[in-house]
């Protein structure tokens, strides 16, 4: 028997989204449960953002079924949005207002009394380590700071579920780590996170479970480690040869490891023992300009399933 607590917060069946004659989401099934950290991994144009906008009860579905908190977004959009926190891809911070006023007015949209919105805005700015910038304008903030303000804003209504669309795209590595740390804390506090990303490391860091999307469909689903284990040998040997010669190397690496991928910029050899594969390459007299052995990642899973890389 399904009880209220284990009912999925999001339930999608054959979910579709079309824009005129373009079908952005082509009938996908997924569920997200309370406290879970769930990701949509895929390249640009995979249909992730369209899916997020439907989950955000902003964009009407074109077909299939979608329920959030057991409610129908078509009918109960407002009630659903009242329980969500949304971090849109482009921040949508109001540059006419100060950092703190951005949070306060957003809180007012949820009917939070002004005094409480004011207090809460300072707590949240403290949480994202920007309390000292409360009176600052938005414009002088760095990209990472703006992102943190947006996350603080999305938490003003104590959401049960946080939707993050490409949370760290365009940020430098340090800013990404600061952001991941904050999101990780939210996850530990039991906030359900749903995020889209085209960064495999982000998906691995943050997601308990994810779906890999490509061209509007889901091509795989599972925990990051399970997906890697299922779809890719343990290690990858990356070889770089002089530019434009990769295609001629097919013979040199043929049969080494479990599988080879000849990409324009590098050759990947999938093997349980990367070092052994490299020894074999050397034994054959092949002289790559550089060689690197690394663990298999979600990027490799994506390549395996779609024949393409995540970031084109």
């Amino acid at each position: 028997m399904t009880t209220a607590s284990d009912a999925p917060l999001i339930l999608a069946r054959q979910l579709r989204k079309s824009f005129d004659d373009f079908e952005a989401v082509k009938g996908i099934d997924f569920e997200v449960r309370k406290g879970e950290s769930f990701g949509f991994l895929g390249p640009n144009g995979a249909g992730k953002s369209s899916t997020m906008r439907m989950i955000g009860a902003v964009s009407p579905i074109s077909g299939g079924e979608l329920s959030l908190f057991g409610l129908d977004p078509e009918v109960d959009g407002k009630q659903i949005r009242a329980r969500l926190g949304v971090v849109p891809q482009d921040n949508q911070l109001d540059e006419l207002l100060s950092v703190q006023d951005n949070l306060i007015i957003y809180g007012r949209y949820f009917d939070i009394p002004y005094k409480i919105a004011r207090e809460r805005s300072l707590e949240l700015l403290d949480f994202v380590q920007l309390k000292d910038r409360a009176r600052s304008k938005i414009e002088p903030l760095s990209g990472g700071m703006k992102r943190r303000v947006t996350i603080a804003r999305s938490l003003i209504n104590n959401p049960e579920m946080l939707l993050l669309d490409e949370p760290t795209t365009g940020l430098d590595p340090q800013a990404r780590h600061v952001l991941w740390d904050r999101l990780y804390r939210l996850k530990q506090d039991g906030v359900t996170l749903v995020l889209t990303t085209h960064y495999m490391d982000e998906a691995e860091q943050l997601c308990d479970r994810l779906v890999i999307m490509d061209q509007g469909t889901i091509v795989a689903e599972g925990a990051p480690a399970d997906l890697i284990r299922t779809h890719s040998p343990r290690e990858v040997l990356e070889l770089r040869y002089p530019a434009g010669t990769n295609a001629d190397r097919t013979q040199e690496v043929d049969g080494i490891g479990a599988r080879q991928e000849i990409l324009p910029d590098r050759i990947l050899i999938y093997a349980d023992d990367g070092e052994a594969a490299l020894s074999e390459v050397h034994r054959r007299g092949s002289q790559p300009e550089s060689a690197l052995v690394r663990r298999s990642s979600l990027e490799d899973v994506f390549l395996r399933l779609t024949g393409r890389t995540l970031v084109d």
């Binding site: 959009g77 009630q79 009242a82 849109p88 949508q92 911070l93 006419l96 207002l97 007015i105 949209y109």
Partner: protein, 262 residues
């Protein structure tokens, strides 16, 4: 849980919050500019007209200053709200994304429009009020009629802003926006009956002038100040303006809903 119906109020609150940051430049627009108009046109041109051969007869025994000054209540509201219905709308969709962030919260696109037009009405009242304040300082334009004129001026302003908000929102870019000012607002201002009675125009142009909201706004403001309005004329003018407001409001709700629900 019952869905909150406070969306338009929250949007109004947002607009007020932004206004608090820019009110000084707005005051310049609604007090200083009309003051210059009133002084330059009303007194300057007025001295020519009043001393002219048809002065009193043409303006129903009003001085040119008394004729011209109340019209500025309506034209100022029109100009200020027109500006608020062009680039700020683009800003809400594209530059600041305000409309998008409001609709990710429990506010519907229709409520965004309602709140925005409520703000335009408030801003129209402030702008018209600024002009009325200027007119209080002149003996010949001081009177209780200024109070209803503030309301009529604001209504005339929203009769422009409601359809313009719908139009601006429907554009893919802002390239056509300056044309609204050049080819719509400026001609309407010139033919609004603010500067001279439209009976001086050829018949066909008079007919067109009567179809513009601003002529109705000018007639209401002038009539309110000089106590020449009747119940029937007031109802007709107000009714005409309300039609523009209502049509614009519904059109804007449609466009916003379409654009914010992609």
């Amino acid at each position: 849980m019952i869905a909150s119906r406070t969306g338009p109020i929250r949007v109004l609150e947002y607009q007020f919050m932004v206004y608090l940051r820019v009110w000084k430049s707005n005051v310049a627009g609604s007090v200083l500019r009309p003051l210059l108009y009133v002084l330059g046109m009303g007194l300057g041109v007025g001295s020519l007209v009043d001393d002219g051969p048809r002065g009193g007869q043409l303006l129903a025994d009003l001085t040119y200053f008394q004729f011209f000054a109340p019209a500025i209540i309506a034209t100022t509201a029109m100009q200020i709200l027109t500006n608020d219905s062009l680039w700020p709308i683009r800003g809400g969709f594209v530059w600041h994304g305000t409309f998008h962030s409001q609709t990710t919260a429990p506010i519907t696109p229709g409520e965004v429009v309602s709140g925005l037009l409520m703000w335009h009405l408030a801003k129209g009242l402030l702008s018209a009020g600024g002009v009325a304040l200027v007119l209080v300082f002149f003996d010949s334009t001081r009177g209780w009629g200024l109070l209803p004129a503030i309301g009529f001026g604001a209504l005339a302003g929203v009769a422009y802003s409601a359809p313009l908000v719908a139009w601006s929102a429907s554009r893919k870019n802002d390239l056509a926006y300056p044309n609204v000012l050049r080819f719509v607002i400026v001609p309407m201002f010139l033919f609004s009956g603010a500067f001279y009675p439209i009976t001086e125009l050829p018949g066909w142009l008079q007919f067109i002038a009567r179809l513009t909201p601003i002529w109705h706004g000018v007639e209401l403001c002038r009539g309110a100040l000089h106590d020449t309005l009747t119940v029937s004329s007031t109802s007709a003018h107000v009714g005409f303006l309300l039609v523009w407001v209502t049509v614009g409001w519904f059109a804007a709700q449609r466009v916003f809903t379409k654009k914010l629900s992609l």
